[in-house]
Amino acid sequence: MITDTSVFLGAWPFRFLPWEGTRAIQTRLSRNKITVAWVSLFEGIFHKDLAAVNQRLARECAVANEGNAGTRLIPFGVINPKSPDWREDLRRCVELHAMPGVRLFPGAHGYPLDDPELAALLKAVADRNLFAQVVMKIEDERTQHPLVKLSAVELTALPGLVAKIPTLKLQILNMQAGVPDEIVLPLARSGRVWFDFAMVEGVAGVARFAERVGTGQLLFGSYFPLFYAESALLKLVEADLPETDLQAIHFTQANGLVPSR
């Protein structure tokens, strides 16, 4: 059993992916023994009408999950705190679509982590008992389309933000291992911030990162279908962690945060 906390559906604008459509993604996840996937639409990064994006996501997941014994898709709506009425977008995620969490793109949506609207959004997310995912990076700067000039999200303000909202639970997606200890350690020690390792690189790099943050703060996330899911799967083989840690990272911790039933 594996819960993949970082999966996308929909269309990626900059290249064709080898799998087309939700069913193909779901089948490919199943082949990798990924039983549950937390999914958002790529369109959430680029569109302005996020209510429509989230509605589409909910429908895609409902259709895919119906009568299907394959990977269960759990929808994570995309919210942009710079949208004029994000509170209504958030309300619909919870009340109409029963989503357990939301995914945020500070880089692509153009706000720093010390933006007061983000603090308000994360407070609302915590009040509604939702899980938040913050995407730190979308693509290697060196291969981005020339129209896209994004760098990794600056995390300096995050420890303070997490401290100010004591019920907030949050995951950094596409975490960069180069973030210094003075930012990473307070986040990890809060016990309310988790990390994926899709972009944690280097030989046995995940073993080293796990030593820094503790295996209790790691959640399996592949960034499929932009990255081959085999990458995150094999990174755990390369990390050579004890079986109990593996289970916690693969499944138990994620399931504790967002029950799959």
Binding site: L17, T143, E201, V203, E230, K235
Partner: protein
């Protein structure tokens, strides 16, 4: 039973090449890598002088010493220093155990400065691995693109080239090599972005794609995933992970009396 054409000694624990190589080979074994090629020394320089070339190649030779034919070396050269580079080629490949050439970012590889080195490497049946990237953010002054390599390869049809990183931005890089039959692409050193191996196989043919990881800056995991996760046939996976490297190195290994 996997061969990896692209590995280094930087960024590993251990103060000597021997210690670092032992560490790398232990993890390689866990990940199913049977043969590891390495190149360059304990510290990298963009534009190494003759003395530094010798030092880095000495460190690489030291790394190879304890691993028999499971570890193979590529000699690091700088085309700006012709005499010193030719001497290193003689010392490390013709007279020594190394089986190929590594060129990094000292000079763009379309330069005529490469010609004498390429000619001698071809005589020795030593493939030449050239680092290439297409960076949206801008290349280093001496950093080649795969189009530079295509130009070099067309000038030297008898030499065999390996395009490091498949051009980095592989959607661009792979297009530049469609008409370069003496260039194979190496799959390492960029994120495990889906479709990379599929496109390489589609555009170049599976026999022109070989596995490389660029460890230890990269994990074996993320780089193996490109081949393991690609939507290709099982026999194609075997060719990329093992057979193509074996075929590439067969002439030089046989000339040295080594196991191909």
């Amino acid at each position: 039973m996997i061969g990896d054409i692209h590995g280094h000694l930087t960024g590993l624990p251990g103060s000597t090449a021997t210690e670092r190589m032992a560490r790398l080979m232990a993890i390689a074994e866990r990940m199913g890598i049977e043969r590891q090629c390495v190149c360059m020394g304990l510290n990298f320089h963009y534009d190494p002088n003759p003395e530094d070339l010798r030092k880095q190649n000495d460190e690489c030779l030291e790394a190879l010493a304890h691993h028999h034919d499971q570890a193979l070396g590529l000699v690091y050269l700088n085309p700006k220093h012709t005499e010193a580079s030719l001497a290193e080629l003689e010392r490390c490949v013709a007279q020594g155990p190394m089986v190929g050439v590594k060129l990094w970012v000292a000079v763009r590889c379309s330069s005529r400065l490469l010609d004498p080195l390429v000619e001698r490497a071809a005589e020795l049946h030593a493939p030449i691995m050239q680092h290439t990237w297409y960076k949206t953010t801008g290349n280093l002054p001496g950093e080649s693109t795969s189009a530079d390599l295509a130009e070099l390869a067309a000038r030297h049809p008898k030499a065999q080239f390996v395009c490091g990183h498949s051009g980095g931005d592989w959607q661009l890089g792979l297009q530049t090599l469609r008409h370069s039959p003496n260039v194979v692409v190496e799959t390492g050193g960029f994120d495990p972005t889906t479709g990379c191996v599929e496109m390489a196989v589609r555009e170049l043919g599976v026999e022109r794609v070989i596995f490389g990881s660029d460890v230890p800056g990269r994990s074996y995991a993320s780089q193996l995933a490109k081949v393991r996760g690609a939507e290709i046939e099982e026999f194609e996976r075997r060719m990329i992970l093992r057979d193509n490297l074996r075929r590439l190195l067969r002439p030089i290994l046989e000339s040295k009396g080594m196991r191909p």
